[in-house]
Amino acid sequence: MSRVTLRVNGEERSLELDPRTTLLDALREQLQLTGSKKGCDHGQCGACTVMVEGRRIYSCLTLAVMHDGEAVTTIEGLGRPDALHPMQAAFVKHDGYQCGYCTPGQICASVATLQEIEAGIPSHVTADLTAAPQLTAEEIRERMSGNICRCGAYSNIVEAITEVAGRPA
């Protein structure tokens, strides 16, 4: 067993766990933070997306012990029903979900996407690697391509992100 301390949604949480425990399992099964979902358990669907030290990560593909002392933000840490994060509010407004299973991961990835564009990190579709990336629908779709929505609510998701980014949808 290993000890690991994570700062989860602003709170220090000390855990004793098998070193093979993924961050996702640590969140879901030890901390009862079940908002992050297990869709494929292989880093291919995006339902488990959380943010570690401000960067998005597939929590099913990383071990909890690799993040000792780091800050983890899950969907629960972004906002609550009575105090929504702007991205959560935009997803609700634009119906950016149907069954809801991919939604926590989509929202975490959306928040990270805007931060990455803000930080000037280019993507596969960024034409000019030396200039600041433009906040286009194409950029958003590209950067959100690691999160599958089987219900096909992609257009509404892009509209929600676009609204939060401050551009007309």
Partner: protein, 764 residues
Amino acid sequence: MTAHPAPPQAAARGMGAALRQDSALKHATGEARFLDDLPEPPGLLHAALALSPVAHGRLAPLDPAPALALPGIVAVLRPGDIPGRNDIASAGSNEPLLAEGMVEHAGQPLAIVVGMTRDAALAGAAALRPEIAPLPAILSLEEAIAREAWVMPPQEIRRGDAAAALAAAPHRLAGEFRAGGQEHFYLEGQIALALPGEDGEMTIHSSTQHPTEVQHIAARVLGCPFSRVTAVTRRMGGGFGGKESNASWVAAAAALAARHTGRPVKLRLSRKADMAATGKRHPFLYRWQAGFDGTGRILALDATLAADAGHSLDLTAGVVFRAITHALGCCDVPDVALRALACRTNTVSHTAFRGFGGPQGALLIEDVVHRVAGALGQPPEAVRARNFAGGENGAETPYGQALEGALIRRVWAEAQRDADWSARRREIAAFNAAHPTLRRGLGSMVLAFGISFGQMHMNQAGALVHVYTDGSIRLNHGGTEMGQGLFIKVAQVVASVFGVDVDRIALSATSTAEVPNTSPTAASTGSDLNGWAAHAAASAIRGRMAAVAAAEWGVPAEEIAFAEGQVTAGGNRAMEFGELARLAYMQRVSLSATGFYRTPDIHWDRAAMRGEPFFYFSYGAAAVEVAVDLLTGEHRCLAAHLVQDCGRSLNPAVDLGQVEGAFVQGLGWLTCEELWWDAEGRLRTLGPSTYKIPGSRDVPPVLRVRLLEGAPARSETIFRSKAVGEPPLLLATAVWNALKDAIGTDRLDAPATPERVLMAIRGG
């Protein structure tokens, strides 16, 4: 049902309002609890399945020792451990939960391993070494047809004399093509949690579209009366038909393990096991001959639609029924012979998938239209329009139910207008002339989709409504929520009956203990059936409450109105809804009612293959543009304009989402989702890394969806709305048509992956 109360008018927060889903805030904050998110009960054990690595063979009794030798293993359950019947058949019989003596497909469950932890159970399942002596396996539709291996007798719909009409037609063509299956890939995989109780009771939380079937099949496996088993479903993380029958055996396996150990058991399939062991959309092989004249009028069609049923019947009867009843789409052909073959192969048993054979059926006429257009040098949309049902052509389907020709023409006219079709044709021609390696194409689709279960008895539903003495209302019905927005729609119905805000309606998990003997939430019928059932229950209570108010005020009951949370009579008498509820209670009037509905007027003669099996048809049209790279076969859908008939929509926000999502899912089926079985019959596309599901980049950048306006359903549907779950999936056929248009090919099998497109470009 003989008479229904007149539908109330649409209100800002009542019927027809674009309200967000009931779970919207919970989804956006991660508070919505899916089954695997529920707090685990004390003493919980976990189950895992051992699956067959072989497609067909003789199975020796399985030795449990290698699993039992591992730490944390509690039990290894084999067929002999089943107290009831080893049969999880949905419609047929003798479909084993655990293979016994014979293995019929790779991925078939052989044993259930129960462990202290999920990891232990999985390790135990992996340690088992099944001894299977392989037998020759049927792994293709061609072989099944050659050997006449069927899961049910061939079905045929005939009208007129197709052979004579073919012989007499001025032109004739023959065609053959195929369409692949489709993995559901509900983001939440199959899962069940079984809780043993007193006196042989078993409560099963299941991610299922069909709680009643979970109850029945678990009881059959456990060998107990249905009344001992309660199946509960709050929500699914997607269903798409994949949790109509397949959830039942997963739940039965969990229940078996719970009965055997006397402890709660959770069974959550890994994604790989889920994809290996659960059925898919039926792949189809089509062979046809058509006769037509110089104007493009199709005079005769003789066609065989061969469905790959897999190793057992499951829901195949309904799928082939829907395929042949939808094989002419929105078109009329006077003389037809349509045969459906339900082929038995050594593959997982294919099952319901959104559209349920309808999308596969509709591909037939679209292929014929495309080929006839090519032969005559006409655009396919002109040939399709030449053959539209109604107008100058016959309106009746070959099985005797009339289509609404005016709506068919209207949806197509609107989609064409939305897409600026003629201008787009010219632009594309100019673009193609200027580009040596890129080709653009235009494609269209017009659909007619029959609504009702093909099994007549399934067209029924029940609901249970309670009003409490504070005026709060609890709603339960037989429908399940899988993201399609059913719960909010039915809540809107009940809110409008009571004239209260929808927030006053407390929704509750679907449960066989509250509403019994229900049908699956499938065939797009969820809101049609459950909406009416809930309407009936709420109306019964409202009638009793109105009588109380009428007596209190000394006015006729007809003068009592329910609106905006108030109960009023005339202009000067009013009380809060809750006040009247309390008054009714004090006067010992029941504030609880069940409601029941059965779809009227539908009938089907199985021997003659004729009747009016559908309560009504939904219509829709699409116009799409694609671009193809001639060097690689890669392609993109650039724009899609969709028009869908939802009657008088119960909730436009929900319906628009359904149309868009169905289109994207259909796009996946027809272009990128390829199931690939190896030569030994093992599925090798077992995860999203090898099985390509449409992602955010695959949706056309221009996607315009519109609900047909001013078109209330002609049939007496709930508030004149129409079903929406499945029909718009067929709109994606326009993408397949557009790809053929772009590359100018006669034959393009689906899914039209870049490889297939490239092969078609290179002529073979």
